[in-house]
Amino acid sequence: MNPSSRLFHHTKTDNSPGWVFIIPSLVLIALIGLPILALVWRSANISIFPFAFTESAFKALKLSLLTSTICVVLAILTGTPLAYIQAHWTYRGKAFLDVLVDLPIVLPPSVAGIALLMAFGRQGLFGGWLNILGISLPFTTVAVVMAQVFVSAPFLVRSARVGFAAIDPQLDEAAKVEGASNWHVFQHIMLPLASRALLTGIILCWTRSLGEFGATLLFAGNLEGKTQTMPLAIYVGFEQGLGIALVLSVVLLAVSFVLLTLLRRLELKSQH
């Protein structure tokens, strides 16, 4: 008998149908579910669609897809090695680095935006050096990607780290006894074994970067075709006409829903 059915059995003999659990749950489900239902319901009105798919909406969609894809690629290239180090190496200050990389997950995006400005803005800590190189980051598409990587890569690192850590260290030792190099072990043993955790991280990273708003607005500004991603277009569009905002919201909702469903299936598979 698994724990959940034992619990259910217990409530049955108690002769109470478990309302203590059901009612609070319903409150939360209503709070999350009703706004999403309303969003879909309101945008189901076909007449707003021709007005909604304006040039600026398409530009925002394109920019969001481009920047979030670059963001995920960068996160994979830099986050996977970092996660591997954090999972398998021991060194002083490792715990601190774990906390540092997790920080953007809990930071308000506005704080992330200000921090990015303070570091890489024209008057920022490194702004002077960047100026000498002729680089000015704020208000550029590069700044959009940086903001996205800042807030979303930690999700990938976190997930990958757990994946790598779950691998039996004896496998690593055994392979090395056989004469395998560090890279060989990583490529042929670690990566395949952690692939599910990595995929989970990639999906979380992608959905988070697609939704990035606050840090982008502060660090990259809002310019159509250059820094105005979907969440920014939704915010600005909300005041111009509900139609644009609604349709873009539903597009973002649909993409996120598909990605999260994929994620759920991955998680279920990894349990078996």
């Binding site: 400005l117 803005g121 024209r122 008057q123 000015s136 704020p138 208000f139 607005l217 990259a220 500004g221 809002n222 310019l223 159509e224 820094t227 915010y235 600005v236 909300f238 005041e239 111009q240």
Partner: protein, 272 residues
């Protein structure tokens, strides 16, 4: 849940001014003698400093009154009101947003009471690193200019001013489009323009004279009267105001010599 409902609208940038005359309300235990009433004021973000001071002066003569301010772009506030935010007063930076609310029967009075006016000014970061000296230098290639989004009153006014300047042969037809080509970001409210210039991320911005008053470190270039616009600020009691008498009292206070003196102190020009 009722505690959540009190602040009502789920707005980010609201400021509470507790009544100093009613310490009981501050500690959360209202005394029998003084009944706390809460006045909610939605005001254009350019009014932030002036209205906060007016709020303090108002509650000095109305003990037991608490004022909740919600400062944002007038177009944001108008959308929130359209979506059912319950409030007492709306003070807009343009008549356009007021007109929309009047059409939806959300405010009863038309014509509206204009309580102050504002003009635009060019702002530069302190020290003026880009060395902008005159208006025509705004068209200089590669200058980083920040404006409010066209949906924001200040952004709309700024574009009108640029068109006015373009009509002067000394500047020429192409002036407006040359300046607009320098725009690196369309900010979602006028105070965001101030912030970007204050941080030195942008070389120049166009904001209200009152915004420049609130940020004395900035360098300003005045815009000649013949090019400038006059932004009329209307104020009105909402049809669904829970405290119409108190709201009317607040508006009379804003119109009074004392209220107008505070407005002037923050860079606004009285009357029509």
């Amino acid at each position: 849940m009722s505690a959540c409902g009190e602040s009502g609208t789920g707005i980010s940038a609201s400021t509470d001014i507790e009544s100093g005359a009613n310490p009981g309300a501050q500690s959360g235990f209202p005394t029998v003698a003084t009944k706390t009433r809460t006045l909610t004021v939605f005001a254009a973000v350019s009014l932030t400093d002036a209205f906060q001071e007016i709020g303090k002066a108002f509650r000095a003569v109305h003990p037991g009154v608490k004022i909740n301010f919600n400062f944002a772009g007038s177009q944001v506030l108008r959308s929130q009101l359209e979506q059912g935010a319950v409030t007492d007063i709306f003070a807009s930076a343009d008549t356009k947003n007021m007109d929309i609310l009047f059409k939806d029967n959300l405010i009863a009075s038309n014509p509206y009471q204009d309580f102050t006016t504002n003009r635009l000014v060019v702002i530069l970061p302190s020290g003026n690193p880009a060395g902008v000296k005159t208006l025509d230098e705004l068209a200089r290639p590669n200058l980083k200019l920040v404006l409010a989004d066209p949906s924001v009153p200040a952004g709309n006014y700024a574009r009108q001013v640029l068109l006015n300047i373009s009509k002067d042969p000394a500047y020429g037809d192409g002036f407006s489009s040359a300046v607009l080509a320098n725009v690196v970001s369309n900010e979602t409210d006028v105070r965001q323009v101030v912030t970007k210039v204050e941080l030195g991320e942008a070389d120049a911005g166009i904001v209200y004279v009152s915004d420049a008053f609130a940020a004395p470190d900035l360098v300003t270039i005045p815009i000649a009267e013949k090019f400038n616009i006059i932004a009329h600020y209307p104020i009105a009691v909402l049809t669904n105001s829970p405290n119409p008498d108190l709201a009317a009292g607040f508006i009379s206070f804003v119109m009074s010599p004392e209220g107008q003196a505070i407005m002037e102190k923050w860079g606004f020009t009285p009357g029509k």
